[in-house]
Amino acid sequence: MTNSAEQLPGRAMLHPEMVAAEDNQAMYRDGHRLDHAEGASKPLRSRPEPQPRGAKIHGNRPIDQAEAAARFIASPEHEKMHDERLWDLRQKRDREMHHIPEWEQLRSLASAIKEHTLTHLDEYLDQFEAHARANGIHVHWARDAAEHNRIVHGILSDHSAKSLIKSKSMLTEECGFRHYMASVGIEVIETDLGERIQQLDKEDPSHVVVPAVHKLRTDVAKVFADTIGTDPENSDVHYLAEAQREATRPLILAADAGMTGGNFVVAETGTFVVCTNEGNADLSANVPKLHIASIGIEKIIPRLEHLAVFVRLLSRSALGSPMTQYTSHFRGPRAGGEMHVVLVDNGRSERLGLEEFWTSLKCIRCGACMNTCPVYRRSGGLSYGATYSGPIGLIIDPTFNARKYSNLPFASSLNGSCTNVCPVKINIHEQIYAWRRELVKRHDVPLVKKAAMKAAGELLSRPAAYRAAIASADVALAHLPRFVIYNGLNAWGKHREVPHPPKQTFHSWYKANRGGTQ
């Protein structure tokens, strides 16, 4: 990262997604990256690599994450950029961590605060509601996604609002909010740059913090050319960012209502906090007179002082920056304005009752587990075919639909790096393991796999049969990887060589060299 691109003026102001993958051959003059024509340093690619698309969705049928991941890997420019960009975030996170001597204590503290709050959730939610009402905030309760959407629609109808600007919110993704709003004729304009790109491309966010991180700038150029009329040949990030700003700013200024999520809700003050890097939540909240905040009930913390713990962890974990550019506290409506908070359950209470999985509610949506996950980095977030991708997705998605997301807990090597980076110490990899057991118990696994595992279990528990099966190592190769080639294809040997069978097994060597007794 000694590239002169680091010193480019304005680079720090760009949304991370708008910064192209490092290009070692790029040329710079007077601090500006030279275009192909100016630099003449590298050949023009005839056609950019097409953007790989996410998992194929077939109603309730199990998502085939592996299939979508394979297509992502088959697009090497995308895969390489994605892996390196997110690994870079992970490294920046590590650097920030090393600046904080009490990092591990902070994580423990954050985890303890969340666990305390989740086990007293009703009390704190009641406290928040009372204090928020006293602050002049309208508080609504939504049992599920449909109720959330209806409530918001109702508020908008009361104000005859026809357009809504909103900042990024995973909760509204959960609720299928944009689709619902489209069905009732209300225009939604995403104000987070990455999320806006995704909206224009009719794709879900692929990452909870950097929603378009799977796209190359050539992909963005294509989306903008198709939707806001930019030059399809121009993928310069400054040009694209500026064009988007010009196209969206009038929509923001004319919007009837604004919507944000909420990163933290403080019970004792009846206030909430929104963290962004673009200031777009502040536009969404402050430009129109009507501000609606949709917030999951697990976002609550008891006291304002607890915020200090989480704010120190959030952006360091997410992007490796000490703090988000904007940490905005919303305390009540402005003069002449109106503020609504919709507290949404949508499966959270039920999750809270799951003995092995309730601590997944501690999640503060920093995305650190995604950035560190070697599987996620090589698969792209859209391969998961779910609102939440990456390690946290593997343990949350099945709570929404165990059948549809039954493959996801298997999309992990169980390496455990996710657990170690988690700022609130969710034992993510252990929950992935536990979900595998749970899905087998619920019979949400393929029958062929089931039969193979049963056969393996039987063979491995009968020494004589087992020895006969692997009498020579050549035979072993055919038999031992039963659990390895259960799917009928030689999945081991497709992209790697099989082990070289030795002359004899350890067992035969021992018998020959150490005699017959034990």
Binding site: S413, Y433, R436, G457
Partner: protein
């Protein structure tokens, strides 16, 4: 002391030299090492795939084979992790608990129990990249993982640095998973092999001649990946180096 030698199934079948090196190494320190003949597997492949009930009989067999030893030692971190941390398909009798708590992975056994500080017979004048498997690194805690803000230590490095002539290289992503992951290696074979390609490429760029690890399963996967894409690396289990393998 009397040690039960645990030779995991894939080491028995594909890497007998690792079992032999482990046996000989433990004997060098004057211990009685016994290989129970009826052993097969610890049950991990089924358990990791969620089929816990299918490994009950295999776990019971493991306990029958390894009861009564002072220690059970195996040269495979992920198998030992299974025995110690997950092995719960069978009733947790006193005997089962006893076997589980006495089961050690070779590196930690040498480092923590035997406290070995010299391998005078070992010489390995090569550049090696150390691969800590995720099982040894993040479960058995062989070393400090890069994600945590904790003082650095590395048990395999401690042991290997007592081998004459050895030189370590530093890959860019030293503790990134290589993509083996048990049945993950076939369930997600494309992602798994891509991770493997990246891993061997990282070590090769760092100048490694050998990748050394306490887990033959990771090495089996990495070797398969390296051979497929033509990365000229060699692979060796830590037991072999510590037992004096020359190359």
């Amino acid at each position: 002391m009397r040690i039960g030698l645990f030779v995991p199934c894939y080491i028995d079948a594909f890497f007998p030299q690792v079992g032999i090196a482990t046996l000989e190494l433990l004997e060098r320190f004057g211990h009685e090492v016994v290989y129970p003949r009826d052993q097969t597997c610890c049950g991990q492949p089924m358990a990791n795939s969620g089929f816990n009930t299918d490994c009950a009989a295999t776990e019971a067999l493991f306990v029958r084979n390894f009861s009564g030893f002072d220690y059970v030692v195996g040269p495979s971190g992920s198998c030992v992790h299974h025995v110690r941390d997950n092995f719960d398909a069978i009733e947790q009798t006193a005997d089962v608990k006893e076997v589980r708590s006495r089961t050690y992975e070779l590196v930690e056994f040498l480092h923590d129990v035997l406290k070995v500080d010299a391998f005078p017979w070992a010489r390995f004048p090569h550049r090696v990249g150390l691969h800590n498997s995720c099982g040894t690194l993040r479960r058995l805690k062989h070393a400090t993982p890069s994600e945590l803000h904790e003082p650095f230590f590395s048990k395999p490095m401690d042991l290997l640095s007592r081998v004459d002539g050895i030189e370590f290289v530093k890959p860019a992503r030293p503790d990134e998973c290589c993509g083996f992951g048990g049945t993950f290696s076939v369930f997600e074979e494309v992602v798994s092999t891509k991770m493997g390609y990246d891993k061997v490429g990282d070590h090769a760029r760092a100048g490694a001649e050998y990748i050394v690890s306490a887990d033959s399963s990771c090495l089996m996967h990495q070797q398969g990946c390296a051979e497929r894409i033509g990365v000229p690396l060699k692979f060796i289990h830590i037991a072999e180096i510590l037992n004096g393998a020359s190359a």
